[in-house]
């Protein structure tokens, strides 16, 4: 039997690509002939139409319930050691709230960094990149002592630690003098001596504190880096996140590097990337808890959050707080405040939404309530 061109049959109907592929795979598996294939595809199209969302259907309510019900079963426990190495990540309900609230600083920022091919295969080279990004403080590579009598700070470099980080004592000295904006002297035993110009104990302690927190290498936000082998490449996981700086680090494959800080993605990669990140993070959080929510509901939420071109949280400072109806806002949170403010401004409620119509006891404009009948006068002959 000669091969039937299924593509041309399927392409006559406006299916989405994934449905097309599924039908084609099924047809090929059963080796259907042309006339049957046509009938099957026709029936598929009818089923497809029957499953489309109807105009006026309460998609938002369905989404809210579909996320809300499994949400009640989520653990309230915040911390958990997830599968990814020893990095602590917020999971469960607190994380979901964090996503929907668009927190600018999530409680446990984390990055997954993939490397360029020449770095991804070799553990040593991966270590090299890890060194470049991990924040190294002065206290990590040297002992810091304060000499109160002479008003000096003495820094004794730890040569082994420096070597491991690929730094020289000279680098350390330059970084210190840059950070404190003072000259750094050198003692006979190789340690650095910093003389405090202002003769006060407070200035000495301030300089000491500053020195302790001085980053001499890496990205300040990246507190820890873990190297893991995944399939056939080394992947870096970090505690802390800075997507923008990571773009410029040598050896990092930026196109495959992500963070769990959605706001950072929005700032660096734009609104569409943020939408994808919301969907991914929310689905991952739900899935990790063993809850199955259809991605369509999450997609709707993400679409609403990103509709204005900027990230809006679901809550009184975002989507719910910007509703034009006074009654709908008052019904959500801060009833008295909302009513008072609306009265002061002289706002008018046009009773167009659902909430306000329920409040005043009118039929809502949803489903069959969305349709109105109009009688055309003089149409009868």
């Amino acid at each position: 039997m000669k091969k039937v061109d299924y593509d041309s049959i399927i392409n006559e109907y406006p299916f989405p690509p994934s449905v097309k592929e599924e039908i084609k795979a099924e047809l090929e598996k059963n080796n259907v002939n042309k006339t049957n294939a046509k009938k099957i595809v026709e029936r598929c199209y009818q089923a497809y139409l029957a499953n489309l969302m109807e105009p006026g259907e309460a998609a938002g309510i369905v989404a809210a319930q579909s996320i809300g019900e499994p949400g009640t079963q989520m653990t309230m426990r915040t911390f958990h050691y997830a599968g990814v190495a020893e990095i602590n990540v917020t999971l469960g309900l607190p994380r979901l709230i964090e996503i929907l609230d668009v927190r600018k600083n999530p409680s446990t920022p984390m990055m997954t960094i993939r490397l360029l091919p020449e770095y991804a295969q070799d553990r040593e080279k991966a270590r090299e990149v890890a060194n470049r990004i991990e924040a190294t403080y002065v206290r990590d590579v040297a002992d810091i002592e304060v000499d109160i009598r002479r008003l000096t700070i003495v820094v004794r470099p730890d040569t082994r630690a420096l070597e491991r980080k690929g730094l020289s004592a000279e680098d350390l000295k330059n970084k210190i003098s840059k950070a404190l904006k003072t000259e750094v002297g050198e003692a006979d035993d190789g340690s650095f001596v910093i003389q405090i110009t202002e003769p006060s104990y407070k200035a000495l302690m301030n300089a000491f504190e500053k020195l302790k927190d001085t980053v001499i290498m890496g990205i300040k936000e990246i507190k820890r880096v873990i190297i893991r082998k995944e399939d056939d490449e080394y992947v870096l996981y970090t505690e802390g996140s800075n997507l923008k700086k990571m773009m410029k680090v040598k050896g990092v494959d930026f196109t495959r590097t992500t963070t769990n800080n959605i706001y950072e993605i929005y700032e660096v990669l734009g609104i569409e990337a943020a939408r994808n990140a919301i969907i991914k993070e929310a689905l991952d959080t739900l899935e990790e808890q063993g809850l199955e929510v259809d991605p369509r509901h999450i997609m709707l939420v993400a679409d609403v959050m990103t509709a204005d071109g900027e990230l809006r949280q679901i809550g009184r400072h975002g989507v719910a707080g910007e509703k034009q109806s006074i009654l709908a806002r008052a019904a959500f949170e801060m009833t008295v405040n909302n009513l008072l403010e609306a009265a002061v401004k002289g706002e008018v409620d046009y009773l167009k939404g659902i909430t306000e119509n329920i409040i005043v006891g009118q039929p809502i404009k949803l489903g069959t309530g969305d349709v109105e009948l109009v009688l055309k006068l003089g149409g009868r002959k």
């Binding site: 690509p17 609104i271 990337a273």
Partner: protein, 68 residues
């Protein structure tokens, strides 16, 4: 990996799109003119950006945003 394809629609394409959808420009979802990707493709306020997303459910889906 996260960023889908963005394209600016020409004037004719934009008009035809609005006709098919039966909406005014302002009713489309927005994208900011200072959005990193909008800057990258050189979109100006008033343009319509066509976004071809990879969708979990449909395989591929098309979305439009108005640059503001």
């Amino acid at each position: 990996m996260l960023v889908p394809k963005h394209e600016i629609l020409s004037k004719e394409e934009a008009e035809e799109l609005l006709k098919i959808l039966g909406v005014r420009k302002e009713q489309l979802p927005k994208i900011k003119a200072d959005d990193p990707i909008a800057k990258e493709i050189g979109a100006k306020p008033g343009d319509i950006v066509k976004i071809t997303r990879k969708s979990l459910t449909a395989g591929e889906s098309v979305f439009y945003r108005l640059v503001v």
